[in-house]
């Protein structure tokens, strides 16, 4: 019987796994971009309290938050082509992940916006700043730094959710590990290395966020 852990084999599969890790990181970053921008748009829109729009947005956010990301990704993957929109699995993954997490980041932004004192709004009105100047010059510069740690945590969560995209055939780390394992019939090394790669990136990242959190709390 071969040993449980074969170092030569582990080294030989590492380059392929690292290449797949790059895909995971790309999807994380692009998905985060979607989540951070769309979340902000939702939060600002909801703050405007436009009667019907507000209810619709609320229902949509709750619905997306309460149902599995995997099912939503499958939905995009199978349904969009029916309307003539054919996207690669990579792009579907970015959109799915981004929209799902936008519902979380929108709540984070909302909490941050609510935490800006009323007086700031009143002062902006008193200075007769336009609506857009009030948002970009007064409210958001105070609201966003406050919620950066929470947003950072969601980016880390997204990173760990990328392997869901196995379902639609995106070749990220875990999918690569699965392919290697099924070719060589040696599952121990590829899956263990895949897990360690996640730990290696997400643990320092969450340490960083925790430090940021503590610094914010100290101010």
């Amino acid at each position: 019987m071969s040993p449980l852990w074969d170092w030569d084999y582990a080294w030989s599969i590492l380059p392929d796994l690292l290449r797949a890790l790059v895909v995971t990181i790309q999807i994380t970053l692009l998905g985060s971009l979607v989540a951070l921008v769309l979340g902000l748009v939702i939060a600002v829109l909801r703050r405007a309290r436009i009667p019907v729009v507000d209810r619709v947005l609320w229902a949509l956010v709750e619905f997306i938050r309460s149902t599995p990301l995997l099912v939503q990704v499958f939905f995009l993957f199978f349904v969009l082509p029916q309307f003539g929109i054919v996207l690669s699995a990579f792009v579907v993954g970015v959109i799915g992940l981004g929209v799902h997490y936008a519902t979380y980041t929108s709540e984070v932004y909302r909490a941050g916006i609510d935490a800006v004192p009323r007086g700031q709004w009143e002062a902006a009105t008193a200075l007769s700043l336009s609506r857009s100047r009030t948002w970009t010059g007064v409210i958001l510069p105070q609201a966003i730094p406050r919620v950066l740690p929470a947003l950072g945590n969601y980016v880390i969560s997204m990173f760990k959710e990328v392997p869901l995209l196995i379902g639609i055939g995106v070749v990220e780390v875990v999918n690569e590990a699965r392919e290697i394992a099924s070719e060589t019939f040696r599952p121990v090394e590829p899956y263990t290395i895949a897990g360690l790669l996640f730990l290696l990136l997400s643990y320092p990242a969450s340490m960083l966020v925790r430090r940021l959190e503590r610094r914010r709390a100290a101010v």
Partner: protein
């Protein structure tokens, strides 16, 4: 368009027992590991604290899908026998969410005012009595709202069990229905998503009830609105690296 609706609903509902078993089993294991892990994180013994810390960071630091594949494909090589897919799934759901839950329990226990400890000591309660009769009943009130979020997260995670051939709702939809009812694809997904939505609403309803019960038990009135705000700022709501 709705001709196939009864057929679609019945095929999806065939997966419901698996989804519910995975959710309920996962929640039970999560609760056990959360309290075990959370109290271990606060233990006076260094080795116990360290062990709990390793467990929490290992499971919060890696992807749930990796954990699932590791337990389903790697563990059998190490221990010599294959786990039933559904139970492998329950194990992963519990281990993963238990790690997040441990931080919730730790945080809630630490948030109980120090005077409560001192009062319990003054009444010469033993450490076990102190925890069980004074600290935990108050901590539980704080824990319930974040646990609600965690359990919904767990429900959503049950969909990944489709990767290891558990015939739950998602697998029924994607493997059985999509290839056979291609023209009703929107309908299939709407019904599928609604099933999850109903389950999530059920979890929230039960948790709200428990919140009220736990709050009245320690003579408090629940103020869940105020607490949800705090969650959002802390990022506890997601399965994220949040709950610290």
């Amino acid at each position: 368009m709705f001709d196939n609706l009864p057929r679609i609903v019945s095929v999806l509902l065939e997966g419901l027992p698996e989804t519910v078993i995975a959710t309920v089993g996962g929640i039970a294991l999560t609760i056990a590991l959360s309290f075990g892990g959370g109290l271990a994180l606060l233990s006076g013994t260094r080795a116990v604290r360290l062990l709990a810390r390793v467990y929490v960071e290992a499971f919060r630091g890696t992807s749930e899908v990796v954990q699932l594949f590791w337990i389903y494909f790697v563990l059998p090589v190490l221990i010599g026998f294959q786990l039933v897919p559904l139970w492998a799934g329950v194990l992963v759901l519990g281990l993963n969410h238990g790690a997040y839950g441990a931080e919730i329990v730790r945080g809630a226990v630490q948030s109980v005012p120090k005077a409560q400890y001192e009062g319990a000591i003054a009444l010469s309660l033993s450490p076990a009595q102190r925890m069980r009769r004074v600290i935990l009943p108050q901590a539980v009130v704080e824990m319930l709202p974040p646990f609600n979020n965690l359990f919904i997260q767990l429900l959503k995670s049950t969909a990944i069990l489709s990767f290891i051939t558990v015939p739950e709702v998602t697998r029924q939809g994607v493997q059985v229905l999509v290839p056979n009812f291609g023209s009703d694809i929107v309908l299939i997904f709407v019904v599928m998503l609604l099933i999850y939505l109903v389950l999530a609403v059920l979890i929230t309803a039960v948790m709200r009830l428990l919140e009220r019960l736990a709050a009245t038990k320690v003579g408090r009135r629940p103020s869940s609105v105020a607490r949800e705000r705090v969650d959002d700022l802390g990022g506890v709501a997601a399965g994220g690296g949040g709950a610290s």
